[in-house]
């Protein structure tokens, strides 16, 4: 068996109903589990960005990216290793407000972990943390003794280290693919 690694796939697409389904069945068909997926509008209107994290062999990941690229509405799809991108996840931890009764330990934890307190309500507070998976995990470990009521973590979003600019990239595609057959 080929060695499996964590890959990030980033795709720019047209905003079309059903495209998410078309993208995910590419993974389903190969029985690949998607670790996380994020879809959102880009700075260009009508263009979405998919960020998909998958645990796969390099060959498998490459084939999947080619299949994604093959979808008509996909403008471009790229395969990245962690070192090729800046990436973050967002986590929120809900704790009982009583945690403040222990002096300022919580505030210290929040500060030392580069997190912030998002809300303070009468019976609960929410701490927000942006970072890599292991950083969020570390914070989680620190907070556990205080009684975490609920925890939620987003999928990864990522941006490549290249200097490509989305709108000029799109203009290039338009010039290449339209009326130029």
């Amino acid at each position: 068996m080929e060695k499996k690694e964590l890959f990030t796939i980033s795709a720019l697409t047209e905003n079309k109903a059903g495209l998410l389904n078309a993208v995910t069945i590419i993974f389903t068909r190969r029985k690949l589990n998607i670790e996380s997926i994020n879809v959102s509008e880009t700075e260009v209107e009508g263009v979405s960005r998919y960020t998909i994290v998958v645990y796969a062999s390099q060959h498998q990941a490459e084939l999947v990216v080619k299949q994604i690229n093959r979808l008509i509405e996909v403008l471009a799809a790229f395969l990245y290793r962690n070192e090729d991108i800046y990436y973050q996840e967002l986590a929120m931890f809900k704790l009982p407000t009583e945690v403040f009764l222990n002096g300022n330990t919580i505030e210290a934890i929040v500060r030392n972990n580069g997190a912030r307190i998002l809300v303070i309500e009468e019976d609960h507070i929410v701490i927000e943390k942006t970072g890599h998976r292991d950083e969020i995990k570390a914070l989680h470990t620190h907070l556990k003794p205080f009684g975490v009521l609920e925890f939620v973590r987003s999928g990864r979003i990522a941006i490549s280290k290249s200097k490509r600019k989305t709108d000029s990239f799109l203009r290039e595609l338009e010039a290449e693919n339209i009326n130029n057959l």
Binding site: I25, K66, N69, R70, I72, N177, I178, L181
Partner: protein, 582 residues
């Protein structure tokens, strides 16, 4: 008997309301869009959700001929057959729900065999979407894995653009099936119609720009090679690259082997033609795959039926892979030079850089293999003197009598392999078969479509007694429209190909492969077709003459040897070098 099939080229060009917008209904807009794309024939089956469109088909029956098939699977296979012989986009129409789901097998078949189709399905009114209303099915979701593109139209004004994109996407690049699902209210709705052909989409690059450096590297490999071999795939036919391939092969003196779907791209009698690749291909090209120092694969995708066991496939050879679909490159076989391009463009560019060469002793090795295969397999198959009729002799005689000029539409199984092994295809796009999906039931409706798509060539369907029964109802369409296709059923009273595997790999345990068959001749006659059945060698010649001479459709059942096996054979999972001759 007069034929009702019109030569599509001779039909008057319909006047299409184009430039100045006119107010029409959605369903009329569908028709006008089809006419704008040059469509003159469609295959389909009506039902509730598509009735508005059928009402317009009725009004436009002078410009657009609708062929009523007997099952939606028949309609989609007919559209495939039509496309495969004519090079045009095949169009089929079905209603929502079961009509749409019945198309799926054919759509999947067209996807894997790169056949351009536009499939139009009716859908329940948009307010019923997602309610499990009568005959509502999520055909967009169901078809998603097997289409090149699909789109649901819920408003009349979307129709021209959706269809323009559909035709553009289906036909360009690596062709494939597109499905357009149109709600009933969109068909009834009104729009200002004007049609603009799609001239490109920014997210879709059908024809990649030829990479000159890859061309150069490919030429260098060819110039250095002592034992090169060309693998000619379906892409050669799709990009009309037969001539370009021939130029390259002749200039550098390279043997040419074809995949099943690539057959008929390169003349069978050409001295450089070394036959068919794959599980039931020829001995030489299979054995020599593992001795060649260079494979030049053109418009093919290294399917497992071609490569056998990948771990021992052509490990000694360098590989040039010319392919228009980027997702096929480095998928199964790692290419030393991957040329992402249209086959014709790439071949022409490579040929100019290739030096004239001779590979006399290499070619002689193929000759030697050929002689072995000929003696051990082909001669006894092609010229038996006793026992029951053999499939191969039928095909040989057909090939001789038609001078290889017919279109052969084959079903799936032993007869398919035998027919494609022994018929000497003398014209392009002449072998219509279900390759990648191996869909039994393909032949009869695909032959109908081929007969509509090409009225000049003789169309002969060859099916087994198993496969013919999967779509036998299409005899009804053949009779109704008097499409003069010839039908040969090679009856061995078995699901022959499965029985062969049972014999060879399951100790002859014939589980569920013996067939008790109906009286095929009576069935064909029941449909009003001329029909005959034979089981004696001495009747074969005259029966085939009668079949071929008939102006109308003709059904011939030939009882053949029951337990015949197709050889050579690369057993499933074995290496191409382990090809067996018996």
């Amino acid at each position: 008997m007069e034929t009702l099939v019109k030569d599509s080229n001779k039909q008057p060009k319909p006047s299409v309301k184009g430039a100045t917008p006119v107010k029409v209904t959605g369903s009329e807009a569908i028709i006008l869009s089809l006419l704008s794309e040059g469509v003159n024939e469609v295959f389909g089956y009506p039902g509730g959700a598509i009735m508005p469109l059928y009402d317009e088909l009725y009004k436009y029956n002078q410009q657009l001929t609708h062929y009523l098939m007997r099952h939606e699977q028949g309609a989609v296979h007919a559209a495939q057959g039509f496309s495969r012989v004519s090079g045009k986009v095949g169009v089929c129409i079905a209603t929502s729900g079961p009509g749409a789901t019945n198309l799926i097998t054919g759509i999947a078949d067209a996807q894997v065999d790169s056949t351009p189709l536009v499939c139009i399905t009716g859908q329940v009114p948009s307010q019923l979407l997602g309610t499990s209303g009568f005959q509502e099915i999520d055909i967009i979701g169901i078809s998603m894995p097997v289409v090149k593109w699909n789109f649901q139209v819920t408003s009349a004004h979307e129709i021209p653009e959706a269809l323009a994109k559909a035709f553009y996407i289906a036909a360009s690049g690596r062709p494939g099936p597109v499905l357009i699902d149109i709600t009933k209210d969109a068909q009834f709705g009104e729009l200002e119609f004007s049609y603009q052909k799609c001239e490109g989409l920014r997210s879709y690059k059908p024809v990649p720009k030829l990479d000159i450096s890859a061309v150069g590297r490919a030429a260098t490999l060819i110039n250095q090679s002592q034992k090169p071999m060309i693998l000619c795939g379906h892409g050669v036919l799709l990009s009309k690259a037969g001539k370009a391939l021939k130029s390259l092969a002749e200039k550098a003196d390279i043997p040419v082997a074809s995949t099943l779907l690539g057959l008929s791209a390169f003349p069978p009698t050409h001295p450089l033609n070394v036959g068919m690749l794959g599980m039931h291909g020829n001995y030489g090209p299979n054995i020599k795959t593992n001795e060649a120092d260079l494979l030049i694969a053109v418009g093919m995708r290294f399917d497992d039926r071609v490569t056998g066991k990948l771990e021992s496939y052509a490990k000694q050879a360098k590989v040039i892979h010319i392919e228009i679909d980027q997702s096929e490159l480095n998928k199964n076989v790692q290419a030393d030079v991957a040329v992402l391009a249209d086959a014709q463009q790439a071949l022409q560019a490579i040929t100019t850089l290739v030096q004239a060469n001779k590979h006399t002793s290499w070619l002689a090795e193929f000759e030697a293999c050929n002689a072995i295969e000929n003696q051990k397999v082909n001669q006894p198959e092609l010229y038996p003197t006793q026992g029951a009729i053999k499939m191969a002799e039928v095909v040989r005689m057909l090939s001789e009598k038609t001078k290889g000029k017919a279109i052969l539409v084959t079903d799936v199984g032993q007869h398919q392999m035998i027919a494609n092994r022994y018929y000497q295809f003398n014209s392009c796009n002449a072998s219509v078969t279900s390759g990648g999906l191996g869909t039994m039931g393909f032949a009869l409706p695909a032959a109908f479509g081929a007969g509509v798509g090409d009225v000049k060539r003789q169309v002969i369907a060859i099916a087994g007694d198993g496969g013919i029964q999967m779509t036998i109802q299409e005899l009804g369409a053949i009779a109704q429209y008097k499409v003069p296709v010839k039908i040969i059923v090679l009856n061995n009273n078995f699901l022959g190909m499965v029985r062969q595997w049972q014999q060879l790999f399951f100790d002859k345990r014939y589980a569920a492969t013996e067939l008790v068959n109906p009286n095929f001749v009576a069935i064909a006659k029941g449909y009003g077709l001329q029909a005959k059945g034979i089981n004696q060698r001495q009747d074969l010649d005259s029966a085939l003459n009668e079949l071929l001479a008939s102006k109308a459709s003709y059904f011939l059942e030939i009882k053949v040897e029951r337990e015949e096996n197709v050889f050579p054979m690369v057993p499933s999972g074995a290496s191409v070098s382990e090809i067996r001759l018996a």
